[in-house]
């Protein structure tokens, strides 16, 4: 199918939806024009006439709103309140702009709100948390003191009551998104339904939500501790004369011992053999003195590194334990979906 053909099909389908939010009825438009011209009698007459005609919900609400404004302008407050009550029943979320509305009309609108039972401004915040460690904030406003029951329905859940209270005005509740068994609510689409009832009157509002499950992020294992670095476990000691000194001592002791232990009857002892080996030892000691010393273990650094390794191992064991726990957890993501319409 070509693009132009698609447009021909799509435009007629879209037009009624677009026109639903604008006033199409000519009688109602005439009434609006009369009100704008401060011709209240003509406005009342045209608005009442339009209500007897076929109107969309939006147009009906606009017609009653026009009646409310007109009666307010004519100081007929009771009638204005009645008209605004109809507006709120049709559009519970309707609010008047205080900057563009007369105080009389605003006052009549507020009185109308207190005389009917509706649930307004039902909001479910978008939130993400680990199952069992968080809550879904839900708030709404009930216009009259009433028994209000909040439920979540849909999916495999059926209907689960999450709150029941007598309330008036704004109410905040927190839903842990857990089943009675303690398990997190399965992923899927649900509706949060708030029902208010007082006497014979009742009203309910709903907010669709989507619950998604995800995995909880695990922690990476540590290879080092921030700010702490391993120290070299060997260090080169400073050069010393100890090797050649030791060589002299050993050779001296051997030669002196030879002289001391030799028998006087045999003449002066032969030191030739001892001197040859002794000189070898002194020479080796001298070479070792000149040579760069061999690295020696640095005890302090070894102990420090050992402590550091133990600390990292201990922390990694804790992380492994925490990760094992996290792998058994579920990350819940709750997102409110667009509403199809108001309550009743």
């Amino acid at each position: 199918m070509r693009r132009s053909t698609w447009l021909l099909v799509a435009v007629p389908l879209l037009l009624p939806r677009l026109s639903a939010q604008t006033v199409q009825n000519t009688t109602l438009r005439r009434a609006q024009q009369a009100f704008d011209n401060l011709d209240y009698r003509q406005a009342l007459s045209a608005a009442h006439s339009s209500l007897r005609e076929r109107l969309s919900g939006y147009e009906r609400a606009r017609a009653y709103e026009l009646l409310g404004f007109t009666y307010s302008g004519m100081d007929s407050i009771l009638k204005a309140v009645d008209a605004f009550k109809q507006v709120v029943l049709i559009e519970p979320e309707r609010e008047l702009d205080p900057n563009r509305t007369s105080p009389k009309a605003l006052s009549a609108f507020q009185v109308a709100l207190t005389q009917i039972l509706v649930i307004r401004q039902l909001r479910v915040d978008s939130v993400q948390f680990i199952g069992g460690q968080g809550n879904v904030p839900i708030r709404y406003t009930v216009t009259q003191p009433s028994r209000v029951v909040a439920r979540v329905t849909g999916g495999s859940l059926g209907s689960m009551r999450i709150d029941s209270t007598v309330a008036n005005g704004q109410v905040n509740i927190r839903w842990p998104a857990r089943l009675p068994s303690g398990d997190p609510v399965p992923a899927g689409s649900y509706s949060v339904i708030v029902e208010a009832s007082v006497g014979q009157n009742s009203f309910s509002a709903s907010q669709p939500i989507r619950v998604a499950h995800g995995t909880v992020d695990t922690l990476p294992h540590l290879t080092s501790l921030p700010g702490y670095e391993y120290l070299p476990e060997t260090e080169i000691p400073p050069k010393s004369w100890r090797p050649v000194g030791l060589g002299f001592v050993y050779a001296g002791v051997a030669l002196a011992g030879t002289s001391a232990l030799s028998n006087g009857d045999l003449g002066s002892p032969s030191l030739r053999e001892g001197t040859v080996i002794g000189l070898g030892i002194v020479a080796a000691g001298f070479v070792m003195t000149l040579k760069k010393p061999a690295p020696e273990p640095a005890r302090g650094n070894i102990l420090y590194n050992q402590l550091l390794r133990e600390q990292i191992a201990r922390r990694n064991a804790e992380i492994a334990q925490e990760n094992t726990r996290r792998r058994q957890q579920v990350a819940l993501s709750v997102v409110p979906l667009p509403r199809a319409g108001g309550g009743r």
Partner: protein, 220 residues
């Protein structure tokens, strides 16, 4: 003979890596020995040189050294004495005690040939060794002790502490520890006394030997 020994050492070096043991160390190699021997009076004075060999083994806290040597001693100075060969076996077993100290136990046996040109003797030895590392692969040792129950081919006896020995040793590792350059010095002084059986006091007939050994050892 020296050429043969060198060839044997070179051949052993070539095949050595396959034989290296992890928990123990063994080395063996040829030595050149030279010594000074005196007996009874300063007139009986010999000097000589010869060949020898040394084997060492180290296992945990135990170590052992075995020396074999054969020296042809010649009279030193203006003397009408004859040459003789001294074949000596010296064995020292050690146990590491602490720090630089080890305890030693062993025996020595020296045989003179011809038999009557010098005293042959054998004895047990006991003593201690002190060793120090001068640097990487360079170790020196000083040891001393007494000789117990010596037996002499010509008879004689000694007092309990009448025979002492003193030693000095040096080992230098080369070729990453495959080859050791070894030097040893050993001094023996035996205050021997002889009794001719006539009832007259025993006559002193001391024996004294200074022995130096320099050689190579192949480590396994």
């Amino acid at each position: 003979m020296r050429t043969t020994a060198t060839l044997v050492a070179a051949g052993a070096l070539a095949v050595m890596p396959a034989c290296r043991l992890a928990a123990q160390h063994f080395s063996v190699g040829p030595q050149i020995a030279f010594g000074d021997y005196r007996e009874t009076t300063s007139d009986l004075h010999f000097r000589g040189a010869g060949l020898g060999a040394k084997a060492s083994v180290l296992w945990k806290k135990f170590s052992a050294d075995v020396w074999l040597s054969k020296i042809n001693y010649k009279p030193h100075g203006d003397s009408a004495l004859a040459d003789f060969d001294a074949s000596e076996v010296n064995v020292q077993l050690r146990y590491f005690i602490s720090g630089p100290f080890s305890a030693e136990l062993g025996f020595m046996n020296r045989k003179a040939d011809p038999e009557f040109e010098a005293q042959s003797m054998g004895a047990l030895t006991a003593g201690a060794q002190m060793s120090h590392l001068l640097g990487p692969g360079v170790r020196m040792a000083l040891d001393g002790g007494v000789l117990f129950g010596p037996k002499f081919s010509g008879g004689g006896s000694i007092s309990p502490l009448g025979a002492v020995r003193l030693g000095l040793g040096l080992t230098v590792d080369a070729l990453k520890g495959r080859l050791h350059v070894v030097g040893d010095y050993e001094f023996q002084s035996v205050s021997r006394k002889t009794d001719d059986g006539s009832g007259s006091p025993a006559l002193p007939a001391p024996i004294q030997q200074s022995l130096g050994r320099i050689g190579l050892a192949i480590a396994f």
